[in-house]
């Protein structure tokens, strides 16, 4: 089936414009990361830096515990992934292949948690987090609270353990 060119070409243009808008911030960040501060302020529109410099990267690695931060991110992400995969595989198998009492109710309970906004569980989780931080050590707490931690500045302000 042929599509008329007069239909396809405007859509190509729309797609390309959308993609430029979506990718611009990424390119902008990449370009700016190699600029000196002066260059970044004076030539905002130039994506390619005039005098490429690694200064920013050097400052970053010297002023922040970059390795530690990356490791924390990695630990949080992998623990969350592993837990999710294990639990949801087992549960999904049970729901698909087995018959048991209360199947529908349990299924409904698990599914309906999608509709619980994180604010509903936020305060008790924070209290639980504080508690487990004191009693169980930081990595357990950090791993368990990962999703919530990412959206919550209060945690890393109050808990320096996560950063150092």
């Amino acid at each position: 089936m042929k599509i008329k060119r007069s239909v396809a070409i405007p859509w190509h243009i729309i797609f390309i414009i959308t993609i430029i808008i979506l990718l611009y911030p990424i390119v902008f960040a990449l370009g700016s990361s190699f600029k000196t501060l002066e260059d970044a302020y004076n030539n905002v529109l130039n994506i390619v830096p005039l005098n490429p410099t690694f200064e920013n990267y050097i400052t970053f690695f010297n002023s922040l515990p970059a390795f530690k931060i990356t490791m924390n991110t990695f630990i949080i992400a992998s623990v969350a992934t592993i837990f999710k995969l294990i639990t949801s595989f087992l549960a999904a198998y049970a729901f698909v292949f087995l018959q048991f009492k209360g199947k529908n109710i349990l299924y409904f309970m698990l599914i309906s948690t999608i509709f619980i906004p994180f604010t509903v569980t936020m305060i008790p989780n924070y209290i639980g987090y504080r508690f487990s931080q004191q009693r169980l050590g930081c990595y357990f707490a950090a791993a368990c609270q990962c999703a919530w931690y990412l959206s919550n500045e209060a945690v890393d302000e109050n808990n320096p353990h996560l950063v150092n």
């Binding site: 911030p25 902008f28 087995l98 048991f100 509903v120 305060i123």
Partner: protein, 299 residues
């Protein structure tokens, strides 16, 4: 009949074992906190004092009699409206166009549109505050060439909601688009080809074939846009405006956080969260009542 029950009992035992890990995690991080939040919504507490004071329904009354609450609920619905247009309707259209109209560069378009979904929204928000800076940002400079002055969006009601929704969409758009594309791509080609042979116009194909046949995924994206979208918006609000100016960019989710971790009024926060959840729940019931009936499930 009795054979079936025996089998069922045997299987029950197995099924419960498989469900235990999920249930433990959900009980610790979902069900218990949920009940505890309901409990907290009847108490006056600031997360620090060892005693909580029982105040009955006072927190709910306080929240309902606060004029800011209504402003914030209004904002929440404006956010929902913007997010539905940008993250549900437009991706639907794009997925349809990419599948049926565009035959070249398909792979490139798909991956390029999906790319921002990999990047943290915190990073995106910081980049956008720079890019959209109304005085020195690149967008303002380009608009300046055409003699257009960029509004100081972070200080204006309405504008701030639109811009924050757009920033959120930057991340969410690609994911919704890919999900919808997969669904539209799965529709049997024969039906569409037959319609094309009969010279059915494209918009009719969209409304009468593609939309009904991909509606199961469509409704998923619709719900995700409302429920997750509001929670995603939290990030740019937190990073860029902190709910300001004068609560103009705050939504129900952010305000609950604000009450709990900035003002330390857990009671208000809990009451507001519970009410937000009820609103979501009402939306959900309406959705099931009016939309789910017309949905086509392949299996």
């Amino acid at each position: 009949m009795s054979d079936g029950t025996v089998l069922k009992n045997k299987e029950s035992w197995k099924a419960y074992c498989l469900l235990i890990p999920t249930l433990i995690i959900f009980s610790i991080f979902m069900f218990w906190p949920f009940l505890y939040t309901i409990y907290l919504s009847f108490f006056d507490w600031n997360m620090i004092t060892p005693t909580k004071e029982f105040v009955g329904l006072k927190n709910y009354i306080d929240v309902l009699s606060d004029r800011n609450t209504y402003k914030i609920l209004g904002n929440t619905f404006i956010y929902i409206a913007f997010l539905l247009v940008i993250n549900c309707i437009i991706p639907y259209l794009f997925a349809f166009v990419l599948d049926l109209i565009l035959k070249r560069f398909n792979g490139f378009y798909k991956s390029a549109l999906f790319l921002p979904a990999f990047i943290s929204l915190v990073v995106g928000s910081i980049l956008f505050t720079w890019i959209l800076n109304p005085v020195s940002g690149p967008v303002a400079i380009i608009l300046g060439w055409f003699g257009i002055e960029m509004p100081i969006w972070s200080k204006l009601d309405g504008w701030v909601i639109l811009v924050l929704s757009l920033i959120t969409s930057w991340k969410v758009f690609g994911y919704n688009f890919i999900v919808l594309y997969a669904s539209i791509n799965g529709i049997s080609r024969e039906i569409i080809e037959a319609a094309r042979l009969d010279n059915v116009p494209l918009w009719k194909i969209f409304f009468h074939i593609v939309l009904p046949m991909s509606s199961a995924t469509g409704i998923y994206v619709f719900i995700i846009t409302i429920v997750q979208g509001l929670q995603y918006v939290f990030t740019p609000i937190k990073v860029i405006t902190q709910g300001g100016p004068n609560y103009a960019s705050s939504n129900a989710i952010y305000h609950a956080y604000h009450e709990a971790f900035v003002l330390y009024r857990t009671g208000h926060s809990a009451a507001l969260s519970i009410m937000t959840m009820l609103i979501f729940f009402i939306l959900l019931v309406l959705e099931f009542k009016f939309v789910e009936r017309g949905i086509y499930y392949e299996n």
